[in-house]
């Protein structure tokens, strides 16, 4: 009995000591560096990351999905580029997604992902991303993680100050980086100045996500580089950085760097929205593609549109102002309160911060310094909130942690700098490896940032990883920003060239992630939702094969009656209704790609047989223990043969 008492006392004592220890360590943690970095990025096998991060793929044209803090790549979502891995842009259903007014464009340059918002907070419905080269905006579902819609931006070139959204996802905005004749016409290049324009396009987003161009603002022919929406009090405004206000048409490297200050354009879109609603603006000719993927028919359709509403900013009183901003500003970032607009003057060591409330006062007082093409230029000093001095060299982008701090990347000095909003003092700096372009804090450009992690996305990799020849993947770094000082935790390679990223707490979207497509909701024109519906049909030299897959066979798996010169459409439906059981389909000699078909989906690939013979096809996804047996044969006869269409499974005719 005495012993039990002793043990109990020891136990209580132990607890006491332990709790003291805990207090001590948590006190330290708020101070500075504590436990090791490996522990903090380690996500144990089978555990999930805390955040999703969506990194643009740049010249891959795609969007990659990562987990944070592990830095593990979870998926590559094809958006603007053909993706033979799953048939995107090759399958009959998805080819229309890449249609433009220039015809089928197989490649794109994806830049700035932005997650939809409600009342300034990430709502996780969709993610938007822009294509810089052939101007387009895409919308990707965060339930299927698939591209659902792509709209082309007419009269634009270099769709770079895009695809940022307003705080209730009223608009997704697409600016013009390379000013061009508006509308396009044949003219001498050196006639650019005063003749080119830089249209800013406001695309309305419906409740179902559907995009529709509301209006185009016909702005002077500067280069509109980046943009962000106002939020809070400044909701209703949009801010765009500009460079090349010199309007140089050649050797811009030098000629567009002559003005000491370019502008941040402040656009009161609510005023213009009102103006347009009341019949303002002028409808002009345009040619652009609107591609929509329908989940019930599982097919995309292209609608060519031929009109766009254009608005001359000078016609709308008080709609647009220019705020002079030094040194060819790149990033244009608005803090969570909506009060501060940061111009990242990339040829400078300083950051210029404008104040929204001072801007309103300056407008009220008509505190102008002349105008540019009839658009008032506000006096520099009257909008200036402050300058972050000697932050580094070559500031590009700024994000916010929601705790009154801002984080700016400095490309030339290759570092991330933390500074304080309001006092403009530099608090911390950490090197990045190497030449950081963009950075991202989940929600860091919204009213509610999640200021725990920050990633920097670097342009130069050099020696960070095992060498892989002259061409390297880019590198990213993960920092813990929960303490006073930033701590570098992890270094991981990224795919393509990330030009920006968007992050969101996993909890906000992971439970909505779809597992299968329902077969009973499959409205695909050529779906066979059971093996008994599989068949072949001839229409001239086109042969349609209605095929199904299930572990582990195709139905039919023996096909005859196809002739050289035919165009065969394999419409393959995956009958599975089990999570993560895709089937693949590959046909020897197909000039297209394979198909990767998710449960309940139908996809179509074409094949034009060129040689007589008996040709095999097979499942490309290791679907089951009998995957190797998942194969079939197509008999191809001569052009003039009379072999009738015949489709069988296990030597039995179907139907």
């Amino acid at each position: 009995m005495k012993n039990i008492f002793k043990i109990a006392v020891l136990g209580v004592l132990g607890l006491f000591i332990q709790s003291c220890g805990n207090d001590g360590s948590s006190g330290e943690k708020s101070g500075a560096i504590t436990s090791n970095a490996a522990e903090r990025v380690y996500v144990a096998p089978g555990e999930h990351d805390e955040y999703y991060a969506f990194l643009s793929g740049g010249y891959s044209g795609n969007l990659t999905v990562y987990g944070l803090p592990s830095g593990r790549m979870l998926k590559e979502i094809p958006v603007f580029s053909q993706f033979p891995t799953n048939g995107y842009g090759y399958s009959e259903e998805t080819v229309p997604m890449l249609n433009t007014s220039f015809g089928f464009v197989p490649w794109g340059d994806s830049h700035h992902p932005d997650i939809s918002q409600t009342e300034g907070e990430l709502d996780g419905r969709w993610i938007f991303i822009n294509e810089n080269n052939t101007p387009r905006i895409a919308r990707i579902s965060l339930e299927t993680f698939e591209t659902e819609e792509i709209i082309e931006i007419p009269h634009s070139a270099g769709n770079h100050s895009s695809s940022f959204i307003t705080e209730n996802t009223e608009y997704v905005v697409a600016g013009t980086r390379f000013s061009v004749p508006y509308p396009q016409e044949d003219m001498a290049i050196d006639q650019m100045k005063g003749n080119f324009k830089g249209p800013l396009t406001f695309i309305a987003v419906g409740e179902d996500g559907r995009m529709n161009i509301d209006f185009q603002l016909k702005m002077p022919g500067f280069n509109y580089d980046l943009s962000h929406p106002g939020r809070g009090d400044s909701h209703g405004w949009f801010f765009f950085t500009t460079y090349n206000t010199e309007e140089a048409h050649t050797m811009q490297e030098v000629n567009a760097s002559q003005n000491d200050k370019d502008f941040i354009a402040a656009v009161n879109w609510k005023k213009i929205q009102e103006y347009v609603k009341n019949g303002g603006g002028e409808e002009i000719d345009a040619e652009y593609a609107h591609n929509v993927f329908d989940h019930s028919t599982q097919a995309a359709t292209t609608t060519m549109k031929n009109k766009v509403l254009t608005v001359d900013p000078r016609e709308v009183e008080g709609a647009v102002y220019f705020m002079p901003t030094p040194k060819s500003p790149h990033g244009c970032d608005v803090d969570p309160s909506g009060e501060y607009i940061v111009g990242n003057g990339k040829l400078s060591t300083d950051l210029t911060v404008h104040s929204f409330s001072k801007m309103l006062k300056a407008i009220e007082n008509k505190d102008f310094d002349g105008d540019a093409y009839g658009i008032p230029i506000l006096n520099f000093d009257s909008t200036l909130a402050g300058t972050v001095k000697e932050g580094g060299l070559g500031p590009l982008h700024t994000e916010f942690d929601g705790k009154g701090n801002a984080y700016t990347t400095f490309f030339i000095s290759s570092e991330v700098v933390k500074w304080k909003l309001g006092t403009w003092e530099v608090l911390d700096r950490q090197p990045s490896y190497y030449s950081v372009g963009h950075l991202m804090i989940p929600g860091g450009n919204s009213r509610e940032p999640y200021g725990k992690y920050m990633i920097s996305m670097n342009k130069i990799t050099k020696d960070r990883y095992l060498p892989t020849g002259p061409e390297l993947e880019h590198s990213a770094q993960l920092y813990d920003i929960s303490g006073e000082k930033m701590e570098l935790l992890l270094d991981f390679p990224t795919h393509g060239e990330p030009h920006y990223a968007a992050g969101i707490p996993a909890e906000k979207i992971k439970s909505k992630s779809q597992k299968i497509y329902r077969l009973d909701e499959n409205e695909h024109e050529y779906a066979a939702t059971s093996e008994s519906e599989t068949k072949m049909e001839r229409d001239g030299n086109e042969v349609h094969v209605y095929m199904t897959t299930v572990r582990s066979h195709f139905s039919p798996d023996n096909l005859e009656g196809i002739k050289v010169g035919d165009k065969v459409f394999f419409h393959v439906t995956n009958l599975e209704q089990d999570f993560d059981v895709p089937h693949g389909f590959a046909m020897i000699g197909a000039n297209t790609s394979e198909l990767l078909i998710m449960p309940g989906q139908t996809k179509t690939i074409t094949w034009e047989p060129k040689k007589e013979g008996v040709w095999p096809f097979y499942c490309t996804d290791f679907c089951s223990a009998l995957h190797q047996e998942m194969q079939g044969y197509v008999r191809v006869s001569g052009q003039n043969s009379n072999v009738p269409l015949k489709w069988t499974l296990d030597d039995e005719e179907i139907n």
Binding site: I516, V550, R551, E576, Q577, D578, S624, A625, L626
Partner: protein, 205 residues
């Protein structure tokens, strides 16, 4: 006899839970199925725990030549069991009411319980027979024909009660809410008998 009659009515009414809740549940767990596949066995048929579980169990079982999980129309049990359960609940309630008004004595309650127990055992035996048939009557053209160390075909019979490893799957077979309600109900009818008997004894004294 009043209390015992009420207990008898409640006890037999709890059988009706079988019309709402599953009697039994079999879950199949495997490395590839972190969310196990599961089937709920109701007195009127078998349903997947998740919408497509039955289809997916059938899909996996076809490799080893097992038959598909039967639909209600394919097994007479699923038509008969509801009638038996409904009938027994009605009979129990009637006995309880008659007991309440002292038309009959508590031994009738015991009689009902014995009948219910016999029927229950018969039901379990039938269920076990089906499990045996389901686990051993295999398609001779099965893709994978596995044998034990003596060369006999493997049985894929899930356990009647408990957990058991079958190839890569672990099958868990346990009663569910419908069965528990039935057991509680049957226990209540036993209490009803005992309470009734005691009340009768006191009165006699």
């Amino acid at each position: 006899m009043k209390n015992s009659g009420i207990l008898m009515v409640i006890g037999s009414a709890l059988l009706l839970g079988l019309f709402i809740y599953p009697l039994w549940n079999i879950q199949l767990e495997a490395p590839q199925y972190p969310d196990p596949l599961g089937m709920n066995i109701y007195i009127s048929g078998i349903q997947g725990e998740e919408e497509f579980d039955i289809q997916n169990i059938d899909g996996i079982n076809h490799y080893i030549g097992m038959k598909k999980i039967p639909t209600p129309a394919e097994m007479w049990e699923f038509n008969t069991f509801p009638l038996v359960i409904g009938g027994m609940a009605a009979l129990g309630a009637l006995l309880g009411i008659l007991g309440f008004f002292k038309v009959i004595g508590p031994n009738w309650f015991l009689g009902w319980l014995i009948l219910m127990t016999v029927l229950g055992i018969l039901g379990m035996m039938d269920f076990n027979n089906w499990l045996s048939d389901y686990g051993t009557d295999l398609d001779p053209k099965a893709i994978m024909k596995l044998t034990d160390s003596e060369g006999n075909p493997l049985s894929y019979k899930p356990p009647l009660l408990g957990s058991q490893k079958i190839l890569n799957f672990t099958a868990h077979s346990y009663p569910r809410a419908g069965a528990y309600l039935m057991f509680i109900g049957m226990l209540l009818t036993l209490v009803a008998w005992w309470v009734g008997k005691k009340a009768k004894g006191t009165m006699a004294k």
